[in-house]
Structure formats: C-alpha cells, structure tokens
Amino acid sequence: MSAAQWRRAMNSGASRSATARWTTTPAEPAQRAVEAPRVGPAILASLRGIRLHHIVVLAALVAYPLVASPFFTFQIGGQSLALGIIALSLSFLGGQGGMVSLAQQSVAGVAGYMVAIFGTSIDPISLHWPWWLAVVAGLLIATLFATFVGWLSVRTEGIYTIMITLAIGVAFYYLTLQNYSLFAGHRGFNQVHAPTAFETNMRDAVPFYYLALACAVAGYGFIQYLIRSPFGIALQGVRDNPRRMRALGYNVTGHRVAAYSVAGLLAAVGGVLMVWYNNQISPESVGLGAMIDILVIAVLGGLRHPIGAFIGAVVFVLLQNFAIDLIDRERFNTVIGGVFLMIVLFSPDGLLGLWVMLRSRLQLNGAQAVLRRGGAS
C-alpha cells in the first residue's frame, strides 16, 4: 500500500467515524452485541426491555382521545403519529444504518399515490379496487420502490447517499407534476377517503387516531425488535465499519438494501395514513418541502433513538399549528428552519440529546450539592 493510499484510507475512516459518532453513542451497539446472543431469541430480549414508563406512556396514549377534543385527537394526535411513522423509517435508516435518505417521503408518497390510483377518489384515473387490495398493492409497490432507491444509492457511500436520494425524490416530484396520465399532474387526487371498515368510519377522529396509534406502536415495536436482532446488529456493524464487516464475510450491500426495504415498508404505512388524513394527495405532498420536513422531524427528536421520531413529530405538528399565533405572518418555515438550525448547531442529538444533557447536568448539580452539604456538616 502506497503512502497516498494509506492516508486516504485513514482519512475516509476518520470521516466515517465522525458521522457515526454524531448519530449514535459508540458504547450502545457493543453492549447490545454482547447481550443479544446470551438472551437468545431477540423477540424475548425486546419484550424483556419493556419497562414501567413504556406502559404508562402507552396507557396515556390510549386514554388521550377521551380527554382531548376532536381537533387535538385528529389534527395533532393522528397527524403526529402518521408523520412519526415516516420519520421513524428515516431514523432507522440514518441511526442504525448510517444512511440518511431524503427519499423516505417519496416512498410514502408512492404508497399514497398507489392507494389513490388503485382505490377510490374523485378522479377518473382511480380503479376503485376494494380498499384493502389497494392498500396491499400500495405497500408492495412502495416497498419495491424503496428497494430500488436503496439499490441505487448504496452503490456509493457516506454523504453521496443524501445527494442521490434527494435527486431521486425531487425527480419523483417533477414526475408527479408533469405526468397527467397516471399521477394526475399538479391537481393530484382529491377525496381519497379512508375506508369504512368493521362498521366504523376510519375518517372520524377517534378511529383514525387509534388506527394510527396501532400502526405506530407496531412499527416502533418492530424497529426495536429489529435493532436487537442479528440483522440489526450486523447493520450497525456495517454502519460503523463496512470494511471490517466485509472482511468478516457479511454482505454489506445486501444488508444496506434490506434496510432500505424495511424502512420503505414502514414509510409506506405512514404514507397510506397520511393520504387518508389529508383526504388527498398532490405533488406538493412529495415536494422538496415535504421531504425536508421528514428529515427535520427525525433530527428534531434525535436520530439516535426510534422514539425521537415521534417526539420530533409532536413538536413539529404543534409548531405547525400554533406558530401562526406566535408570529404575525405565516412565517412557519422560518420558525421551523430556525429551530432545526439551532438543534443541528447546538444539540446534534436532537431534543433527546438535549434532555440527556440536561439530566446529567442536573444530576451533577445535585451530587455537588450533596457533597457540599456533606462537607459542611
């Protein structure tokens, strides 16, 4: 190996570990790697991971519609959960796989468009299939699309991912905008109603909230399970050092593409919920703004942990609904962009990171106070 090659290898390793350090705590995966084989099946491990606060939060979420108004149930609760699912798919890809994909909203959009095309809407393009068939078709096609995006973008590494996924996403936006025969051009599909199933109308606030909650809990549990599974651990290995994993005989490309597929399915579920929430889908839903919103949500909460996606979504939706009250004009984008900038600049681990920092500082202060008291007496 020549000196130049050596230096290059060192440089690329350093930059990769810099990104890795930013997205995760280095100690965490190692700990899990030791733990998982001993506990046995990963599903048991994730069940054993359930703590009291999980149950309390879940109970609070189930009870939420009983105390909240329909507006808070639907606009705040339902939308946060649906957006959170899409952001969760990004935080899985970014946090566990080290691949920050901006195309997750496009995957969700593909699912939404397919539901509108195969299912029911006011547009003559729609095929009026039964809703469950349209949903299955939508999820399937969106997952295939995500796999394709993954196959394309894992051919290069690191920061190139964000560029390629961004280019794919914006290209999809322009396709939906220009194409009238399939995607109905700029007007999109209107009146894509949620179905009436099991004698309840999913369009109503409370049923939609519970539907979104069920999907979110299932998605969250699935991701938590996946992180502890051998696949998840191998993926973290691929994120931290692809070279070493390749040398150990792991199929690095395969793991990455599989991560894209799994995340794609999750994003597709969120996309179907979003199209039912909005009752419509149009190019705006998959535009650059929407793509970046998902990134903002995931980063706001903290890419490091799956729950960050939902925390970010709640903060985002609250800001979206009430920022207009805070400032006189509709400068929501300036507010959310500013908040995002502040988070990225000062707390790269998002709100969760901020909380951890705050807690450790408080504990430190408490400990110092105890010490001081001890010294005085």
Binding site: I162, L166, L175, I292, R331, G337, G338
Partner: protein, 316 residues
C-alpha cells in the same frame, strides 16, 4: 485490454445505436424542431454548468454538500434584479448577484463550517436549514411574483440561423459565455497559485496544511467563488428564463444530477454532466412531455449503475 475495448464498443452500440436511430428519425421528421431542441438543450446545459461548477468546486475541496446552492442561485437573481431595476445596468446586476452570493457563502464558511470540519452530515443538515429559512425569507421579501430581466440591447433579439429561422441571441451569448467561464475556471485552477492550492487541497487536505499553507483561507476563497457562481448563474439564468419561488429547487436538482452524472469535484465532469442532462431534459420535454423528467432520471440511473462515482469521478 481487448475485452475492455470490446465491452466499450458493445455499450456504445447499445446506448448510442438507439440514439442515432432516434436522431435520424427526428431530423427526417422535423429538422427544425430537432435543431431548435438541440440548441435549447445546449444553452440550458450552459446554464446548468454555471450553477453546478460552483457546487462541485465546493464539494470537491471541502466535502461539503451545499444544499443551499439553489437558494444562493435565487438570492443572487433577486438581488441582481433589484440592482438592475435601480441602475438600469445589466452588467451591474450580474456583478451584484455574484457579490451577494459570494458574501453569503464567505460568511457561512467563516462563521459556521470552519468549526465543523469533517462532520459532513452535520454541515449538509445546516445547509438544508439555511435553505428552508432563506427560501421563506425570500418569499416574504419578493412574494410569489415572476421577475424577468432585460439583457443589454446588443444581445437582445434574435439571431438568424439556417433551418431554425431565428434563435434568441442572448442564449447563444450565454452558451459562449459559459464556455469562456469554463475555460477561465480551468485556467484559474490549473495555472494560478490559488488554483494549485485548491487542487492540492482536493487531493490531500492534511498535506496542504502541513506544507505551511493557510487552508482556512483557501477554503474561504473556494466557498466564496462557488457560492458566487450560483449567484452569477442566478442573474444570467433569470435573464434567459425567469425568476420565481421554486426555482431554487429546480437548480438544486440540476446541480445535484449534473455532479452525480459528471463526477463529483471535477469541473470537466460538471461540463460533461451538464451537457448530458441539458440535452436529455430538452429532448424529453420536446418529444415526450409528460414523461420528460424520466429521461434525466434514466441518464442518472445508467451512470450510477455502471460508474457509481460519475463519468469522470475519481475515488474520494
């Protein structure tokens, strides 16, 4: 080596064959449309090259994916329009567009990116945040209106050409201008001292710093030039087409695709990529309007499938 050459031949025939067939058919069918589409493609490529060269320069040296590049384009265009409107001078407008974007770029590098070297993901996220805020503030200031420049009288109007009866003079000038700027950039990078420092930095940052050169200053200069190119292209492109909110996305996509196709960090690559994408886009729009964007996308997919680092890209 001979199998390599054979493969090259096979691929040239597989990709080039249908293109030649299409060209023969299109020229037979309607030579005027074909030629004007070709000219549109080439002049659009000139504009894309102007935007993308700044993007690729910054990326090549600092590994900073500046996703606010489209916003700098739009900012340069708006400020240039204001100056042009106030002074009635197109050349002053161009200078103002360049300077504004360059100053913003310089500020970003000196105040923010200098402190987070090597954290490329974080830098990229910051540029995303900046582009959100800038887009919104520009919408606030200039509204959703469409602005347009008038170029100086000498290059206004149309130029008589064979087959295509008349073609806007300005666009021809734009193409010639882009070639001149490309050559100037090449000269700057290959023949001047600062250019050599930049190229040395692209190859090996640490070694450049070790040989006693103030790398931060080189970075600041590069960022200012790269951002300035975006603002410059904003005024030039705003004259050829128009300025409105949403153009930032369009030119961001153009720069991204051009550098992905051409190879990141290479000026020549940006020229090749711009030519391919400009032609693909215009021919797509002219011959298959509702699927036009697909052609651009197919070019990108093909290049990524066979040359993941772009046509002229080198391993990072």
């Amino acid at each position: 080596m001979s199998t390599e050459r054979l493969r090259l031949w096979i691929w040239s025939i597989v990709i080039g064959g249908p293109l030649v067939v299409f060209a023969v058919w299109a020229i037979n069918d309607n030579p005027r449309q074909f030629l004007s589409t070709f000219l549109n493609g080439v002049t659009l490529a000139a504009l894309y090259f102007l935007v993308a060269s700044g993007f690729t320069l910054v990326f090549g040296l600092m590994r900073n994916v500046n996703l606010a590049h489209g916003s700098l384009y739009l900012l340069g265009a708006y400020v240039g329009w204001e100056v042009g409107d106030a002074t009635d001078s197109w050349l002053l407008a161009v200078a103002a567009g360049f300077l504004t974007a360059a100053l913003v770029g310089l500020f970003l590098q000196v105040a923010i990116f200098r402190f987070m070297q090597g954290q490329d993901l974080r830098q990229t996220m910051i540029t995303i945040g900046i582009s959100i805020v800038l887009a919104d503030l520009m919408l606030w200031q200039w509204g959703g209106l469409i602005y347009q420049f008038d170029p100086p009288r000498i290059i206004f109007g149309s130029l008589p050409l064979p087959i295509v009866k008349g073609y806007p003079t300005y666009r021809i000038v734009l193409f010639v201008g882009a070639v001149v700027i490309g050559v100037l950039l090449w000269w700057f990078l290959n023949r001047t001292r600062v250019g050599m420092m930049i190229r040395a930095g692209v190859d090996d940052r640490a070694m450049l710093a070790a040989s006693g050169i103030n790398v931060q200053r080189v970075f600041a200069i590069t960022f200012a030039i790269g951002a300035g190119m975006a603002g410059f292209a904003g005024v030039v492109g705003g004259t050829a087409l128009s300025i409105s909110p949403g153009e930032d996305t369009r030119y961001l996509l153009a720069s991204l695709v051009v550098v992905i196709v051409g190879g990141m960090g290479s000026i020549t690559g940006a020229a090749v990529g711009a030519l391919l994408i400009g032609l693909a886009e215009q021919f797509g729009l002219a011959y298959e309007p509702t699927y036009g964007i697909i052609f651009t996308f197919v070019v990108m997919v093909l290049v990524l499938a066979f040359r993941p680092r772009g046509i002229l890209g080198r391993p990072a």
